[in-house]
């Protein structure tokens, strides 16, 4: 039996052991917000939290990331493309929804003819220690998008919070090696496993928001020009909060920065969103998505239609951040339900006909 117990009072010991090999990232509380940061003092680690505001995707896809640096030497340019540090990162306390987002992001950055090696390198260097959610919020809907509060699939080691201790289950090869090295962890008992199972079942049952997303992706594409988009986007102010706080949004802008005095510069990428008005603006002035309706529709379709069409998976992890933090409370659940109503109405009309 490979399951172990990590007592919460031993967290510091765990930190000491892990930080010898890894850069230890975990949840800390800053100005009232939970954020995943590099920890130098294990006392800063918060163990009693729901989830971070900014999704942990920023560890594998930083807000500002150098693509390459260059130096001018006469008429010659020397490019340094070795910009991703070789360090190993341990991300402690990631929730199953965010861990699933890492899998979705990786699928996206790996697919096709070209692969994003920067992301892939960072992802490879990151080990995920997930903690299951015992008390999902009413805005969570992970069970509607192919995952659930105790989903063990996308992490290296899975922890279940048993109040004063964690049940430790190694999942991947990386995780198995990590747990093996922590040979001071006690073995878990049958009782621990039972308790964890019960917590998992209770958590799954407690999910209040359930969205019916079956076949919705085709319906949304077919109804690209529906009036319902106008209605759904009316209160949207195009602020981009939903995209910036979304674990699966990964669009970026590319900017060149020049340090003329020192004959050098760099090309960076920064987080961007399709909600910005200049996202698709051509130099000629033509904009394929000139208004709020088009931009709003694009984001919803990208998650619930285009991603499913290409990957067979819904591009959303049900974390509920867009619902909680939208400044105008434009609730995603309401929009999906409206489209479902329309879909069902059409089905009925077809049957009658």
């Amino acid at each position: 039996m490979s399951e172990r117990i990590l007592k919460k009072e031993d967290i510091n010991k765990f930190y000491e052991a892990a930080s010898k090999t890894y850069k230890f990232y975990g949840p800390v509380r800053e100005k009232g917000n939970i954020i995943f940061k590099e920890i130098s003092n294990p006392e800063d680690l918060v163990l009693d939290y729901f989830n971070s505001k900014i999704p942990p995707k920023e560890i594998v896809l930083p807000r500002t990331e150098t693509l390459f640096e260059y130096e001018m030497k006469g008429n010659d340019i020397i490019i340094n493309d070795d910009v991703v540090p070789d360090e190993k990162v341990l991300l402690f306390g990631i929730r199953p929804c965010d861990a699933y987002s890492f899998t979705l992001l990786e699928t996206f950055f790996k697919e096709g003819k070209y692969q994003d090696d920067l992301f892939i390198k960072r992802r490879k260097n990151t080990t995920l220690i997930g903690i299951g959610c015992n008390e999902p919020k009413s805005t969570c809907f992970c069970t509607s998008v192919n995952t659930h509060p105790h989903d063990k699939e996308n992490v290296d080691v899975f922890l279940t919070d048993l109040k004063d201790k964690y049940l430790v289950i190694p999942i991947s090869e990386k995780g198995k090696d990590l747990v093996k090295d922590l040979n001071w962890l006690e073995k878990a008992t049958e009782k621990d496993l039972e308790k964890a199972l019960k917590l998992s079942e209770t958590a799954e049952l407690s999910i209040k928001t359930k969205l019916d997303l079956k076949d919705l992706h085709e319906f949304l594409m077919k109804n690209f020009d529906s009036e319902l988009w106008k209605e759904s986007s009316q209160s949207c102010i195009g602020c981009g909060t939903c995209a910036f706080l979304c674990p699966t949004c990964s669009c970026f802008d590319v900017i060149d920065e020049e340090d003329k005095y020192n004959n050098r510069g760099r090309r960076v990428r920064v987080w961007d969103t399709c909600q910005f008005c200049i996202y698709t603006l051509h130099t000629s002035g033509h904009n394929p998505r000139p208004g709020r309706i088009q931009r709003f529709r694009n984001r919803i379709l990208h998650k619930f239609s285009y991603y499913p069409i290409k990957q067979g998976l819904i591009g959303c992890v049900g974390c509920g951040r867009c619902i909680q933090y939208c400044p105008v409370n434009n609730d995603l659940r309401k929009i999906i339900n409206k489209f479902n109503e329309l879909k069902n109405k059409e089905k009925e009309e077809m049957v009658v006909a």
Binding site: N51, N329, K334
Partner: protein, 342 residues
Amino acid sequence: MSNIQKENEEIERFIREVSRDLFKENKVDLIIGYGKGSIPFNTTPIFISEENDIDKLIWNNFCYINLSRYLLPSLNDFIRENKDKNLKIGVISKGCTARSIIQLIIENQIKPENVVIIGMECNGILNRKKIEKEFGDLEITDILINGDNIIVKGDKFEKELAFNDYLSELCKACKIRAPPISSKVSDIIVGKSQEVSSIEEDDFSDISEFESKSSEEKWAHISELLKDCTRCYACREACPFCYCNLCFIDQNLPTWFSKTSNLGEIVIFHMIRALHVAGRCVACGACSNACPMGIDLTIITRKLEKIVKERFDFTAGLDLDTLPPMMTFKMDDKEEFMLEED
């Protein structure tokens, strides 16, 4: 003892009555107001075009969005496309919302004949982020007002907090709770309003603590405040005055500033945006409320207001006659920054 819940119910009844009359008398084509949010602490803007939907309008102390934001640009395009129909849009307006509308009229962004200010006397907006912080990550399922207190309920808890302790800083300092009425503006205001002459003097005492800091302390404070900024521009999108076709930060011929999350670049963005809205900002707090990181820009907004008042003796959005300081000049404008020797 004030009864805030009763006040809210009265305001709600009042705005529904006024709105209903406007529809009955065919005086508006559309009303923008606040509707019930889907989660606690939230309200959502609603767009009502039929009398039947009037009861969707609500009022509570979480109506923090500045609704005048919706007049530009898309509704304004809608109005222009239907020039011959001379559309009228009613906006449920607290004092700050009305001041934004008046200021937008001065800036020629909307015509007075296309807007109706449905005035109400605002009793303050609560600082949601401050309340949330009291409860860590516990989920709040309901918020009620009881007497002078707020009752916050969760699945396993219930707590009472003093209303006044959680009122937004801007609302605490606010002197213009109902739309300010002056001669030219009276035509477009229905409902409650207050005489400009009755507005109390603002002593800006809420920022005196910040002002007394040294330069280094001020810089430390501002850096700490802004360092979490993710450059999402929610503050810009929520602001009714950020309607430029191409914001300075998006320009690339030339590129003025970078879009990275480097502290210098973040501070520059906020300072320049502050300068661009100086003399127009009505301290509605929409920017702080929209920020996903919970950055409270109150200090900047209030300091701006104070500088504009002291230098130019101007308060934004009070009447249609006075041009804001950044749109005009006077021969006796102070120029000490040019003449002073260091």
